[in-house]
Symmetry: D2
Subunit: 328 residues, 4 copies
């Protein structure tokens, strides 16, 4: 198929490359002409603007937007919807809030334009491993775009098949190839959002576990209860036959193999919107999400020194017990 | 009654004074002779050592230990049990772990010595307000000591009586005076331990609420959603007719009245053992205690900069997404 | 002053009464004519409709809406704004979401109508104790309405004054009377929202503590570590001189005095929007709120049997360990 | 090597089999003679008692105990230590509390017996996949036993090697084969304990995520925000290239492939001691562990209907607001 990709950052550029390797024709645009040139060198058709891209794509045009979620993506959706003809498709491959997708799909439908949201996991590894995709949109449109998704997805590869899936009439073959049509507009990003919420929880579970391991050398403990544990080897051994093996553990093992103290990192941990939105979704359904919110809060906390609330605790302790803070 | 008090710190000295005001005869000892002199000046009989105290008390001797929990209290219990005669009573008024009480009571019973554990709340305010006490021990012994507890307790005072308590045959009158016989040895400190666990939870609830209020001025929010809130006035108004009025809020209001920024505090918050033990007790009973453990962890976190776990989160993020830490 | 009150439920009716006792003239309306009659019997002027009320109020009219937050309040604000003259004031005394207040104030400003949001705490006790109020709105309007707030507020009463507040030039005298002008529109409900968030946290801290006390009789514990604790007396004694005394504890003591097993309650706990919104506000500011969200989730969890997630845990355990569920 | 295995349950029997496949000579004993017969049929030497086993093993004897942690394992350790000769080795391959290991190693050292603790992950899959092992004990003893561990471990297999590990002089080759010598006695079970703590956290993260996905069909949501998601396909697609792929996810996908509703499970989730001990270890080091404790509490909560604390919440709500419980 032929499609245009707007936004050639870490993800967009590699998506373009993987599509070209799969035989698709890709028109690319980015604010940075260097980014455009780099992908063009690998065979993409450069576009100087989205208007230019629209011209190069012909009809029906398919636009894949791969930009930071929020205002930037929103304004690009609007800009493309102004110049696109009825029958065009706008794909948002970023991490948009799923309610924005629902709204956009409704607004674009009035203009005869289809909107598809694709939650994409795989990070910087997607070019080689393929992208795991969760897709929201009208069934007919998602089916038309299938060749694109099939190319981007990892495919069956060497991952063992899930016992008992085979032959189930309800099982969608696409899931085994690494992509699903999750539901109507918004459903793709909703599933991806929960995916990221889970990701935060998994990461924090490992983080707390390694914190406890690291602390076991503490001088406050009795001598025979202190262990000088080799975290690099522990991460490695857990990769091999343990119940908690995972790709995140593989990445941890890689980082710890380089430096068992992780001295290159300060530990100030960013969060993108999905963790926050996952908690909102949980609250809208009255679903407890202790672990997922604790994981999110741990990131917030990693980015500040003491909070006002901490000071208030000290002030109360001083108030009722005359406790003076001990310098730590 | 006549009793000896060992340990004349913030709590012990005032307990001695309140008892003397109530007409009791008090023999006092402390490692610091200054502390002994200060209480002796108010009428107590000074003892140069616990041996000296034993002599001054006669029989049956009642010892009230008011020392830091753990090894110091344990060694004093042992020292007194070596010199006390059968029929003596050892009261531990500190914050001992209730399982230590159970063990001590069993050990002392072999020597004919009774052991009573008294959990005491009221902090530095107890001299004036009286002490809220939770008592564990044999019924006959607790009854013998009743004059002491009655003096130390706040009494009915001006606190409104609980509707519906009156005349209930099951209601123990002592509870309304501010002390209870909770059960056998250990029960006093157990109830006090849970009291402190709750205290941590309450404090953290206020701390988080005020954190959110304080953050509402953040420049990251849209202008009309930013509020420049007066936290001093908010704490004050909540004292007056709101559902969340409490003594801890009173203390918060006092601290905020002095300095709405609480600049005198760093926010490095200590914890004594009770929070930890409360969680252990919860786990032994398979009782969820999300709030109480979160409150404890917030204190731990207030005392460190970034954790190893935080660094591991950053390392994973770098691993899957090439995310570089942003200086905050 | 003269004002109209729309909505005569548990709160509205008593607000009307307290205002009349304070000498204000009150026009009342409710869908239920019984509710109107009941308040009219106490001296209020009945209105058959809001249109009728507008006529009875004259100009500038002051409307106090006391209805369930959400669609019902929103539609009443719209209805009144359609019939009110410029210069009128609409007060929302319910528990609206503060962002709705911000929006409404902006919309009504275009019509020359002022909007004031009043967060009100005090529940069914407000008629006697007075209402603790947190007010958002334009300064001039809040000052004009001051006689109303002064009447509704508890006043200084017998609550001891906060040490160190007196004479501070920055301290607003109104806070000591039980109401504050928190800031522009929305600020009143924002502070009330956080108040309720804290309330959830405080309640859950007590709930977990009493759970641990209740469980201490468990047959799974060694005999000398089992205590048969009297929860009624424990709640009572904590009211008297302890660090955790509070109004919520008073209420707990009252309930436990009636029935120490609380058999009249199933434990299915509702939540209104404020807990949810408090977490949203925390997330918008990247403020950790472990305790407040855990408290909210505990309510969600109290309303369901096992979750799908619980089943997934069982399924995984079966998968890796062949663990079969044990009937509990 | 020649060794004895006491306890032929789900784990012990397969450990015996894997050792025999690796050429080791295995003497086996179990209270159930059926269990002994089953393994003997596969080539093991049956022992009628541990005394019998000791005779069959000769000297120096190596005993591998694979029994439920706690009193049963403790009493077997004592029994073997009474009959074993100096130079013998007792291996505890179960899930003992690491402080018990430390104590046992000290006690057995007096008798000239070595004690080795082996934390074993891999569950029912270990026979085929191999066992991931974390070993605590004296270096010389662990080295002597190396042939056993090497046979039981998964070996390099097809798991990709961790980039950057290769050639590091600090990297222990054994970690890549699937076992580590973590440190002195206790260290093996300590690392395994934290492993299980992490396992709980990971599982709960998935559980909450799937709960949120499952709830998205809720009738309380607006129509266009409701999704009828296929959880079976979502679990499958996340296995393929996503950041959250893991073995636990593989198991989830398998379970969901059989029944997307998991109707065969009630969701009453057991916990063994490790989650609890992990939290204790965290508290002893003052390390926050929000996620790991939340995961543990979720299991506790899955096993009860409403708690006493829930009822107390209802009672307070009734107290301040007259809120009556709504049947859910």
């Amino acid at each position: 198929m032929k499609l245009g990709i707007v936004g050639l950052g870490r993800m967009g550029g590699n998506i373009a490359r993987r599509l070209m390797r799969g035989g698709h024709e890709v028109v690319v645009h980015d604010l940075s002409s260097d980014a455009v040139d780099a992908v063009a060198k690998d065979g993409a058709i450069p576009a100087a603007s989205v208007e230019d891209m629209a011209g190069l794509l012909g009809e029906p045009a398919v636009f894949w937007i791969m930009l930071p979620a929020g205002a930037i993506t929103q304004s690009m959706v609007e800009r493309i919807s102004d110049l696109a003809k009825p029958g065009a498709v706008i794909i948002d491959g970023g991490n948009s809030f799923y309610k924005d997708d629902i709204r956009r799909a409704r607004e674009l439908a009035d203009k005869g334009i289809d909107y598809v949201d694709v939650g994409t996991s795989g990070g910087v590894w997607g070019l080689e491993r393929g992208y795991c995709m969760m897709i929201g949109g009208k069934t007919s449109v998602v089916e038309t775009l299938d060749p694109i998704f099939r190319t981007l997805a990892p495919g069956l590869g060497e991952i063992p098949r899930t016992p008992g899936r085979d032959g189930k009439p309800t099982a969608d073959e696409r899931a085994e190839l690494g992509y699903i049509h999750a539901g109507p507009p918004g459903a793709g990003h909703f599933v991806k959002m929960v995916h990221n919420g889970i990701e935060y929880g998994l990461m924090q579970a490992y983080a707390e576990g390694f914190d406890i391991l690291a602390g076991k050398g503490s001088e406050k403990l009795p001598d025979d209860e202190r262990f000088d544990l080799n975290l690099t080897d522990i991460a490695e051994v857990w990769r091999r036959g343990s119940v908690i093996s995972s790709w995140l553990l593989d990445l941890s093992a890689t980082a710890l193999a380089q430096d068992g103290k992780l001295n290159g990192f300060s530990g100030s941990v960013a969060d993108s919107g999905e963790g926050h939105w996952t908690i909102e979704a949980a609250m809208e359904q009255a679903t407890p999400a202790h672990v997922l919110s604790a994981a999110l809060y741990a990131r917030y906390r990693s980015r500040v020194d003491n909070t006002f609330g901490d000071k208030l605790l000290s002030a109360m302790r001083y108030g009722f017990g005359g406790h003076v803070e001990i310098p730590q």
